[in-house]
């Protein structure tokens, strides 16, 4: 065994070591016995006795044989393991040498892979943080949100009496709680007044979430009363940032919207519900509303142990139907629905993230295809070497292993760089953070993301290695040897062409997606929002003092804003269009001459008559607002200085409200009652119709809107946005405006934004998706071009001889170029056709995410087809030019 190099025994078909061992052992034992016999005979024993004695003396020979054999087997195993390991080391060393020999090739392959791995990993970390990671509450899958369902199956929040019935009659919950919309309060008592996001929650809310205070306590029973002492529980973030993060924060007194509150508890950072809320106040400090149609409350619950989601669904549904039977038309609730809280929070982003994940995986596939193509090309160049090794008896497994070693090195390097890049990418994603994507703060590159990245890298490397080896070591030996001088075999070239076609096809899918998103984004930005986008500056304030102060205060601020040089119009509104906050809507009542002054109860009674009600967004604006926003007056008049508090209350309505509610009448002069919104039961007279404004988002049709004037109805204007329009530089206006607010009321928190920022913010999540898909699409385009280029270059090199013969026979340079380019376009064309067909199917899935563009938009498809054809032409033009330089003489040299 000593002195025979590894592998040679196999190559030379030497007898196996087990047979050899048995032979040798037999010889050795026989020699020993013979010597012993000779000695005994010499001492005078006869031959037969001597042999018997020698055998007895020797002991069990078969035991010895077994012992030696088993030892040999163990030894062989060890040797084989070491041989295998040495093989790997050798392969890795070999691969490393290859890397050193062709760093350019390796760099291209690695960069390609890095792109794929980094994008997949970055997107995966978002998917994981947002979708896959459970909410940070104990048994978070047991927390659900309950909805009222109306006749049309729409989800409504709960009205107080309905909630009380649900709570009394359902059997499925360990705890059930009401949660209000997120509002904002003005906090006074700190260094400077700040606005804090607050929500009202009922007593069991913290039990539902399963969260205990980090410091302090929850609300005490006496605080859960309308007239009890005022207590507030604050978030970890608010405690850290505004209360200094010290123990002394407990018991601190704060003025919240003018009322005196005590901080009693601080929540751990995990509690983030409703999203981004900073203060929880007892729902019980606000009176219950008797109306069954005042849909004010989210309802969350924690399922009782052993109750399945389905059982709980049946339970709430039964309760809801029973309530409907009892109260009939008094409630809109005909059924109830139950949604797990996790789904409730992230359900809407699932589509977006699925699209992004699919996009990044597609990019990874394209990258892998590219690398495989490169590896196969190189493998083909080594066909001769491989054939020789196969002929010498090298196992195919061994060659496969070599390919694997190479692609594993690639995968390891690309994976490592990819993860680093992904980390940077995640930071970038977080910067682009669209406001509507929940839980983005839970996104990070943690060990599970690392495991994912490693798994992706290894999977890609192994797949690439195996495909390469399968193509590279296959085929007829003799052919391979015969062609070894020429390089590639026909079959591996075929594989590379297939890969290029697949790459181009996948790039088409990604680019069509990019095109569609881009088109809908442009469409969206070109939508007329109903107001003119100019250099307006918006100043948001929130006034927590008595509402009677507001008309004079706002008048004064507006008057001072007018003095800023270059400002032409100043107005104000209770909720900025596209601003994302504020704004309520409700049901109003059309008054007839028979109605006298009514109170809320009368209102609720008459409201059941559908002839006399209408629904609209309720806004409070003032003189100057429509001018500042350039919202056109359609008919009648705007608010004027004569519309003071003592004058008859007047209102403007939007065009769509006029058209839907008074299709055949003139709405001007109609008297309506909308006092349920602000508690003032003075009826309104409609004096004008103004243009429609897109309030919620650019993509949402304008909603029927009703405008009152702040001078007459200040109740709804605790949050108020001033709009300043004019030719002045927005930055200068902003600082001047800030100074003015501070001068008028130092304790009034103000925020300044430009109208462009507001519009940009409203499309932030679409821009986010567009950006990412565009990055994927462009990367895919680049990789596809690289694929076409490398395959065509290779073909040109292959056909050098043929081309030079053509030249010798009189072909012109142009003919040669056309020949080569036609080949490149042929390849790309097939890919484009396949990709376009695939895209037709795939884009259907994103139809709901598009705006104003059909999923089969011919322009997007056409643009992609043209772009890819051009890129493919360009990619084959470079090698074609090289081909065109072939000279007739070359045929001799190549010969």
């Amino acid at each position: 065994m000593v002195g025979i190099p590894r592998g040679v025994r196999r190559a030379l078909r030497l007898p196996s070591s087990a047979e050899r061992l048995e032979h040798e052992l037999d010889d050795e034992v026989r020699f020993h016995l013979d010597m012993r016999v000779r000695e005994l005979v010499a001492a005078g024993m006869n031959e037969a006795d001597a042999r018997a004695a020698a055998l007895a003396r020797f002991g069990d020979t078969s035991d010895l044989r077994e012992y030696c054999q088993s030892m040999e087997v163990r030894h062989m195993h060890r040797m084989r393991l070491r041989e295998w390991w040495d093989g790997w080391l050798q392969d890795v060393r070999f691969a490393a040498r290859q890397v050193k020999r062709s760093p350019g090739f390796f760099a291209v392959a690695a960069i390609t892979l890095v792109l794929g791995i980094a994008s997949t990993t970055a997107i995966f970390s978002v998917v994981r943080g947002v979708l896959l990671r459970p909410l940070p509450y104990p048994d978070a899958d047991r927390i659900v949100q309950v909805w009222q369902l109306d006749q049309k199956g729409h989800q409504n929040h709960f009205a107080d009496p309905n909630y009380d019935d649900l709570r009394a009659q359902s059997r499925s919950f360990l705890a059930l709680a009401q949660v209000s919309h997120v509002g904002a309060v003005t906090v006074v008592g700190l260094d400077e007044p700040v606005r804090a996001r607050n929500a009202f929650v009922s007593g069991d809310f913290f039990a539902v979430m399963g969260v205990k205070p980090l410091r302090g306590r929850l609300f005490a029973p006496e605080e859960l009363q309308v007239s009890g002492p005022r207590a507030v529980v604050v978030s970890h973030g608010f405690w850290q940032q505004q209360l200094g993060g010290s123990e002394s924060a407990l018991g601190q007194r704060l003025m919240l919207d003018g009322a005196d509150f005590t901080v009693v508890g601080i929540m751990p950072p995990t509690l983030d519900f409703p999203l981004k809320v900073e203060m929880w106040m007892p729902r019980e400090m606000r009176p219950k509303l008797p109306s069954r149609t005042a849909h004010n409350w989210k309802v969350v619950g924690r399922l009782a142990p052993g109750v399945t989601l389905d059982a709980a669904r049946r339970d709430v549904s039964t309760v809801a139907r029973r309530v409907r039977e009892q109260h009939g038309e008094d409630t809109w609730m005909v059924d109830a629905a139950l949604v797990p809280l996790h789904e409730q929070l992230v359900g809407r982003t699932k589509g977006t993230l699925t699209v992004l994940m699919a996009g990044s995986l597609l990019l990874l596939l394209i990258a892998c295809a590219n690398v495989v193509s490169l590896l196969i090309a190189r493998m083909s160049a080594r066909t001769g070497e491989v054939a020789v090794r196969l002929a010498l008896g090298a196992g195919r497994a061994r060659l496969v292993q070599q390919c694997l070693a190479e692609s594993l090195i690639l995968g390891a390097v690309a994976g490592a760089v990819g993860v680093l890049l992904a980390r940077a990418g995640v930071t970038l994603l977080l910067k682009l953070q669209p406001a509507n994507l929940p839980r983005m703060d839970e996104v990070r590159v943690d060990w599970q993301v690392l495991v994912f990245a490693v798994a992706v890298s290894i999977a890609a490397a192994v797949a690439m290695g195996i495909i390469t080896a399968w193509r590279g070591t296959r085929g007829n030996l003799r052919d391979a040897l015969a062609h070894s001088q020429r390089g590639a075999s026909a079959s591996s070239e075929r594989v590379r062409r297939v890969l290029v076609v697949a790459q181009v096809a996948m790039a088409v899918v990604l680019l069509v997606g990019t095109g569609l998103f881009a088109r809908s984004f442009v469409r969206l930005l070109s939508v007329n929002p109903g107001f003119r986008l100019d250099r307006q500056v918006v100043v948001d304030v929130s006034h927590s003092g008595p509402q009677a102060e507001r008309p004079m205060l706002y008048d004064e601020i507006i008057a001072r804003f007018r003095t800023i040089p270059g400002i032409a119009h100043v107005g104000g509104v209770s909720a900025m269009p596209l601003g994302g906050t504020g704004g309520g809507n409700g049901t109003f009542l059309i008054m007839s001459g028979a109605d006298g002054r009514m109170d809320i109860e009368d209102f609720e009674r008459v409201m059941r008559n559908p002839e006399r009600v209408g629904e609209a967004e309720f806004r409070v604006a003032g003189p100057g607002y429509f001018e500042a926003m350039s919202v056109p007056l359609v008919r009648g008049r705007l608010f004027e200085d004569r519309d003071v508090a003592q004058a008859p209350h007047v209102a403007l309505i939007s065009n769509s409200l006029a058209k839907t509610r008074w299709p055949n009448e003139d709405p001007i002069g109609k008297v309506i009652q909308f006092g349920n919104m602000d508690g003032d039961m003075t009826p309104f007279t409609i004096v004008g119709v103004v243009g429609d404004v897109r309030e919620q988002s650019l993509a949402t049709e304008p909603r029927p809107t009703f405008y009152a004037s702040y001078r007459q109805r200040p109740g709804y204007t605790f949050a108020f946005s001033f709009v300043l329009s004019g030719a002045a530089d927005p930055a200068a206006v902003a600082s001047a405006a800030q100074r003015i607010v501070r001068a008028v009321r130092p304790d009034l928190p103000a925020r300044v934004r430009t109208i462009h920022a507001i519009v940009a913010g409203s499309v932030a999540d679409r821009r986010f998706v567009l950006w990412l898909v565009a990055i994927f699409g462009i990367a895919a385009l680049g990789l596809g071009a690289l694929g076409v280029y490398s395959v065509i270059s290779y073909l040109v090199a292959q056909r050098n001889r043929e081309l030079s013969i053509r030249v010798a026979l009189g072909a012109k340079a142009n003919d040669i170029m056309r020949l080569v380019i036609r080949q490149g376009i042929g390849l790309a064309g097939l890919g484009i056709v396949i990709g376009a067909l695939a895209a037709l199917g795939a884009t259907r899935l994103i139809a709901s995410m598009l705006y104003g563009v059909s999923a089969t938009d011919p322009l997007a498809f056409g643009a992609v087809v043209v772009t890819l054809t051009l890129v493919a032409t360009l990619a084959s033009w470079v090698p074609a030019r090289r081909a065109a330089r072939v000279k007739a003489m070359d045929v001799l040299r190549v010969g």
Partner: protein, 110 residues
């Protein structure tokens, strides 16, 4: 013979074989004879056990083996001590001496 004694014998045999080979390369029979003579036959060593020890030591690299011709011109497998075997012998011999001295001290204590 119980198992412990057997194990003891294995170890013992290894040291004896190494010691024997430290004189010169020998074949298995010569080793057996040499040990018989030195121990005056007091250690009844089964030949099979001796060969097990030899193969074990060969496998672990303490001895090397080579086929050669014996005194009477027969093909025989000669074992010789490797550098590693020499080191092993040194260590094992020291252990053995310590062990034996300890046992002797106990037995001679009164």
């Amino acid at each position: 013979m119980n198992r412990d004694a057997n194990d003891l014998l294995h170890g013992t045999l290894d040291v004896l074989v190494l010691k024997t080979l430290s004189w010169e390369p020998m074949h298995g029979y010569a080793i057996a004879k040499w040990i018989e003579q030195r121990t005056r036959g007091e250690l009844e060593i089964v030949d099979a056990a001796l060969y097990k020890a030899l193969h074990r030591l060969e496998q672990s690299g303490a001895v090397a083996a080579e086929w050669g011709l014996s005194e009477n011109n027969r093909r025989a497998k000669y074992y010789s001590l490797s550098a590693r075997g020499r080191a092993l012998l040194k260590a094992e011999a020291a252990t053995w001496r310590r062990y034996a001295n300890a046992v002797v001290r106990v037995l001679e204590a009164t």
